[in-house]
Amino acid sequence: MIALLRAEWRKLFSTRLWWGMLLGAVAFTALSVVAQLATNGLPRSDAPPLQTGVEQRAILASASTGYIFALVVGIIFMTTEFRHFTSRPTFLTEPRRGRVITAKLVMGAGLGILYGLVCSAVASAITIPWYSAKGITMDWGGNDLFWVLLAVLAVIAIYAVVGVGIGVLIRNQISAVIGALVYLFIVESIIRGLSALWTWLADIDKFLPGSAAAAVTQIDAGRGDSSVTLLAPWGGALVLGAWGLFFALVGWAVLVQRDVA
């Protein structure tokens, strides 16, 4: 297994994928944090004042938008094997395909942690000087801000694992990336909209990947949107992780049966 992990490590860090996507995650995180900070206090903004713990948590939690890049990097990391047929030498060297998938999931988690750490660091590096420039103190302990950063880290890391899982199941790279994004941004939004009408749908909705991720940082609930019921943060993390493993398990079951191109 250590040999396979070393191989996956080399795969990951020998192309431009990991840092290209990381740059995207950094830019996206910076943008959403700055947007929140800059618009706070403007006449039309309904956000709570910067002094409040709710707002401080919400600003740092917006770093979790980096999850999109973690999800996509996970998908690409897996599907690139099929796209460029490196699956051939990979499975010729290790014909037990389940072990390859396991190594891929572990590396995906590691990469997700890296992305999560960087996104958390970027959010902090922007927020802290901004606050001190405004002369406002951030209460890291009292406002649970460390927990928010940990939640950001968890969401991003788990999403990378989900991405690898999706990539095992849907081997076509374009389909997997587009399918995942369409689901998250369109399908789940529709379900969320409908769940305001039917309460039974709301009970299902909170176990869907997007809602589970929101539960980890409590970012939607923090804005006082009472129609959204979310799981507890740890529950959200477990459910999101379970989705990742679910995709990987179904994908594995299909992949061991199938022929590799």
Binding site: A3, R6, S14, T15, H84, F85, P89, L92, P95
Partner: protein
């Protein structure tokens, strides 16, 4: 214990069905160590499908294949047992050749120095740090071969390895494969859809057509199957026919479009003797034999079209 078994490839009643298409039917053959075996058949005969089943990449619908007595998936150290070259495009275009090899060094627990050794072996050292996206087809073939050689395997399986190689590269590959089999006693299975391409390299052939085994045997055995005849021409064709009719045992005589007669069943010497005995003037007398390529086309049904 198992590793001391000869590194023989055995296909045992292999079959593969894709939907309603029967790509490979009840195919059995053996590839022995110390020889280069040509795996031949026209495009679409099921060669690549068979190789993929041997290599554990495709699952047989029926039957099985073993290498040194084991299924591919059960090999304890696949990279050291088998090296395979399938289509030569199994690289990430953004990765350098050396980094590509280092991945499989890690996966197979081989020292990183192997990557440089195999690059030198296939004359690709100069391109070691170039991204494979810019490689020519010939360079890809070399890198694919380098990947197969990483584990210094006892068995080499190559699918159409000459594709994209220049004449120099093909001649190099010939020498290389012969060396692997003769000097090092390895098992080499090399597929091709053109017999003449591998004719000078292989000792044995396994010929496939429409997913079925047509012939398995040595190249010499195949040669012997080719029909022999004598081609003869004379200004006095009528006299020549009379002379030929005296040859014992009876020969068959056919007219060729070029005006010669094709005589099957007698040597050129016997024909010459009969003509001399009947005082017939000859302008041409040669021994002919069907080429391997003609025989191959006849066997695989390609010549009928």
């Amino acid at each position: 214990m198992m590793e001391t078994q000869p590194a023989r490839i055995v296909a045992n009643h292999l079959s593969k069905t894709f939907g309603r298409l029967r790509a490979v039917s009840d195919l059995s053959f053996t590839v022995e160590p110390g020889s280069v075996t040509g795996f031949l058949g026209p495009n679409g005969a099921g060669k690549t499908t068979t190789l993929r089943m041997i290599l554990g990449l495709a699952r047989p619908s029926d039957g099985d294949a073993t290498i040194a007595g084991r299924h591919y998936v059960d090999l304890s150290d696949p990279a050291r047992m088998v090296g395979a070259v399938l289509e030569a495009n199994s690289f990430h275009p953004g990765r350098t050749a050396r980094n590509h090899l280092l991945i499989y060094c890690a996966a197979a627990c081989l020292p990183d120095t192997r990557a440089d050794e195999v690059l030198a072996q296939v004359n690709l050292t100069g391109a070691a740090r170039s991204r494979t996206g810019g490689f020519s087809l010939g360079m890809r073939q070399r890198l694919a071969l380098a990947t197969a050689l990483l584990g210094d395997p006892r068995v080499l399986v190559l699918d159409e390895p000459a594709n994209g190689l220049d004449p120099e590269g093909i001649s190099w590959l010939r020498g290389f494969l012969r060396h692997m089999a003769d000097a090092e006693g390895r098992t080499v299975l090399v597929s091709s859809h053109v017999l003449s391409e591998v004719e000078q390299t292989v000792d044995r052939v396994v010929i496939l057509s429409k997913g079925r085994l047509i012939r398995e045997g040595s190249l010499d055995e195949l040669h012997a199957e080719g029909t022999a005849w004598a081609a003869v021409s004379s200004p006095d064709t009528a006299g020549l026919r009379t002379a030929l009719a005296t040859i014992e045992p009876v020969v068959t005589v056919t007219d060729e479009p070029d005006g010669t007669l094709r005589i099957v069943g007698a040597t050129a010497a016997a024909v010459g003797h009969a003509a001399w005995a009947h005082n017939v003037e000859l302008h041409q007398l040669t021994s002919e034999r069907a080429s391997l390529e003609e025989l191959f086309l006849k066997l695989t049904g390609e010549g009928e079209a």
